[in-house]
């Protein structure tokens, strides 16, 4: 069984998945979701191995974020190592994620596909150098919204309360630890760092309407010329190439 051989074909994406009235789905984990989970676990293990902290958010179901964090920090199986995982809560999780996440960290969200705060975090994460993982059910987020999307294609809005998310992050934790038993695989291919179109978040706009702004990118803070996209304000997202902001990204809201 090769993960490259498109196991998605058997997945529920065709819209045939129907939740059983008792809350037990006919198949809790189809082959497509299982393959996504395996990919996510290997990525997460590699990032932890490289020193990542896992930041957990779940604006509507905060206990799920706490549950994810405690799985990693205090494993149920004796002898498994404690990993850095913290929950972000409070009135402005976007601002809190911005100051918390460092380059190389991971942000995991347990949220609906249209959650506005999580959508903001996911859009900005590349500028913070953070990797992203999104667990949810119902309508999916836009394609490419996160590095890894672990989705339950069940329209039932009560699915988050039936244990199916719990199963997903339990398995994510377990598979991540299985990956640690394969140290030779923990140093994956380094991410390409092309200078073309790097996402940047404006930290400090220029004093005048044009000129250099201080921006944050995956590689840290730098000054770039924002004349082409001026005026900009703090928090705006721009694409940077060769020391200049070429276009804005802040108005691209997924439908």
């Amino acid at each position: 069984m090769c993960p490259g051989a498109s196991p998605q074909a058997v997945g529920p994406d065709g819209g045939t998945a129907v939740s059983a009235p008792t809350g037990i789905a006919p198949d809790l984990l189809d082959t497509g979701l299982a393959a996504d989970l395996a990919d996510a676990a290997l990525s997460l293990a590699r990032l932890f191995h490289a020193g990542a902290t896992l930041w957990c958010v779940s604006p509507r179901w905060e206990p799920h974020a706490h549950h994810v964090a405690v799985e990693f920090v205090h494993p149920v199986i004796m002898g498994k190592r404690a990993l850095p995982a913290l929950t972000i809560t409070g009135p402005d999780i976007v601002a809190q994620a911005r100051v918390s996440a460092r380059t190389g960290d991971v942000i995991i969200a347990v949220a609906a596909g249209d959650d506005p705060a999580v959508g903001e975090i996911m859009r900005r994460a590349p500028a913070w150098g953070a990797h992203t993982l999104w667990i949810g059910s119902g309508g999916r987020p836009a394609r490419g919204a996160a590095d890894h999307v672990l989705w339950i294609d069940d329209p039932d809005p009560l699915a988050p309360a039936t244990g199916r998310f719990v199963l997903l992050y339990h398995l994510l934790w377990e598979l991540t630890h299985v990956c640690f038993e394969h140290p030779g695989l923990l140093t994956g291919p380094a991410a390409e760092c092309a200078d073309e179109g790097r996402l940047a978040e404006v930290v400090e706009p220029p004093g005048r309407t044009y000129g250099d702004a201080l921006v944050r990118t995956a590689t840290g803070e730098e000054r770039v010329d924002v004349t082409l996209v001026a005026p900009v304000s703090a928090g705006d997202l721009v694409l940077v190439h060769a020391g200049a902001a070429l276009s804005r990204r802040d108005l691209e809201v997924a439908p």
Partner: protein, 224 residues
Amino acid sequence: MSSVGAERTGFLYPFIQRDERDAESLLADLATSARAKARESAALQRATLAQCAALIEVAGAAMAERFAEGGRMFTFGNGGSSTDAATLAGLFARPLDGRPLPALSLAADQAVVTALGNDVGFELVFSRQIIAHAHARDIAVAISTSGSSDDLLSALAEASRRGLLTIGFAGYDGGRMAAAPEVDHCFVVASQSVHRIQESQALLGYELWATVQRHLPARGRRER
């Protein structure tokens, strides 16, 4: 010529090739293992619901009576179970569908939990809150995998003394909770895996909520 050269020297670096192959086979193994565990989880959920069907009905009806009398529900647990207790309280208090019912998680207040843990000992973090907040018409729900946590048992005993309806969620063989006379209704998920137990307990909690909603007296419902 260079490709032939690469072929000839490839044996010098077998780990590179092997690592690439292994990542694929590892991913396939992970996916297979995940599916097996998910099937195990679903089978346990089905078995648990079948075994607990009558108890869910009885406990749900008793809870609905308490809510109808103006009672509130306090949920509590440790670690992951404390988050499941909070999820359950959230489902009762803010359901997307049905009637919102007063329910609170006793682990939610960091000031109270740390004050009690520091001043009187961790085994009293929940029972002291029961003493402070609870009335006889209320409901105490303790969620545990072992069924034997001191802080939960002490809170259930306190709740029972005060006339609360007491409900326990346990795993394994039910632990001390299953045998405690202070627990009116005890749901036991017969498994040895903390994770599988929690997944079944979540569904049990959901079924309990649905049962309570069904049993709420019509007079309490808003007129259409």
